[in-house]
Amino acid sequence: MSEFALFVGCVIANRFPHIEKSGRIMLKNLNINVNDIPEFNCCPNPTGILQISNEAWTVSAAHNLCLAEEKGLDILTFCNGCYETLKSTNVELKHDSELKEKVNKALAKVGKEYKGNIKVVHFLEYIYKNITPEKLKETVQRPLDNLRIATFYGCHYGRPSSLLNFDDPLRPVSLDEVVEAMGATSVEYLNKYTCCGSAISGIDEESQLKLLKDKLEQVERVKADCICVICPACYMQLDGNQRKLNSKYGTNFNIPILYLTELIALAQGVQEAELGLNFHSIKVKELLTKF
């Protein structure tokens, strides 16, 4: 059995706890044991705090890394943003002794020291590399046969590749292979690798909604049953803003957005009520009758 410190992240924990619920069930079914570290702070956000100050971002991320190091645990995240922040910082600190010295000088003020002896993984990265799609398939009790899924990776799963260095930064494949292993068909669509636009909410709402519209139009064109995401910011944009888009542009989109953790739990035979799927903005009831 593998053992991790679970980094839920504040968007999932305090906005979409149903994603956390499905994630925990999925991990249990995969025999992955996770420990909570309640002292974790926000990663912090690579689209927010990092744009204000590199130093503040790095030192706050290093604080999280120290908390996991103290428990001797690698970190597993459910969120692309947390993954980018924690893994990037971990890699940079491991390879830049000057930066490490500077960060440790600040950390000393709160009685911490970054050592560099743990790893950070994204839950999809771990499923793809360590569990493998084949083994995942063995845990499937209710195959996703007949489901046509538009996968969407988000941006911070693979970029910047110099630091994250896992799946292809522009044409990743891991999510497609994982949903196909569960019996679904991953459908190709235009704009598949284009940003959802979530990060400019609050700055340029019109552009934010245009990017959402572009994506949903293409997904509708190929008649996908749902979009599968691995990032809560993408989830917030695609699920939470679909109705807003409809009322603003007179469109009629009704595309369910499933988090990969939810799809895996469903495929593992978990009942929908247990997952809190009723908390989705775009309802998923009809989707559940298709497989």
């Binding site: 839920v8 504040c10 968007v11 924990a13 305090n14 906005r15 706890p17 149903h18 956390e20 619920k21 909570d36 309640p38 002292e39 974790f40 702070n41 926000c42 956000n45 690579p46 689209t47 927010g48 705090i49 990092l50 744009q51 204000i52 100050s53 590199n54 130093e55 503040a56 030192v59 706050s60 604080h63 600040a106 950390l107 003020k109 709160v110 911490k112 941006c155 911070h156 970029r159 910047p160 590749s161 930064p169 522009l170 284009t194 940003c195 636009g197 979530s198 990060a199 400019i200 909410s201 609050g202 700055i203 340029d204 019109e206 552009s207 245009k210 990017l211 572009d214 809190g276 908390f279």
Partner: protein
């Protein structure tokens, strides 16, 4: 006013100095989702304006904040310019003169006060319990965060400088 030093200021870090390899091909603009939907954001042009020394214009320009942070430009640049991250450094300099979107500034304030971007609420706490989860899962050591942020001079960056923002309308 043109500042011939601005290019050097941006080139001070490992990321920043990659700007000197730019030959203005525009591949970054080609992949940029922000540019696709709003031509006020053009990464190629921002690089050009840094190289030409349009320091004052750039530091007070609200459009530099339209980036979606997708990092596509950084991956496709044939010259290895770390476009998106180098432009983060431009934004850091803009923040120092008070050019920061209110939503980002508020996030900075929230983080410095709670250690979180999305703090817990009573309603979500109830929802979490309904789902069989602990009412709260992230309870950061806020004191530590405040000390660390003080160490890196963060607080002066998130002071309310709205007057500057309004005069830029």
């Amino acid at each position: 006013m043109i500042s011939s030093e601005f290019r050097k200021e941006i080139s001070q870090t490992d990321i920043g100095k990659t700007i000197n390899y730019c030959y203005q091909c525009g591949t970054c603009a080609g992949i940029c989702p922000a540019f696709r939907v709003n031509s006020n954001y053009n990464p190629r042009r921002l690089v050009e304006e840094i190289l030409l020394g349009f320091k004052e214009k750039l530091l007070h320009d609200k459009n530099i904040w339209l980036c979606t942070t997708c990092h596509g430009c950084l991956e496709v640049c044939p010259q290895g310019v770390m476009v998106s991250e180098m432009l983060f450094e431009l934004r850091h300099k803009a923040v120092e003169v008070g050019n920061i979107p209110e939503s980002i500034r508020e996030e900075g304030v929230r983080f410095s006060q709670t250690g979180l971007n999305i703090p817990p609420s009573a309603a979500i706490g109830r929802r979490r319990e309904k789902l069989g989860l602990n009412a709260q899962i992230m309870t950061p050591i806020v004191e530590n965060i405040k000390i660390l942020l003080e160490e890196v001079d963060f607080f002066k960056l998130i002071e309310n400088k709205n007057q500057e923002a309004e005069s830029n309308e």
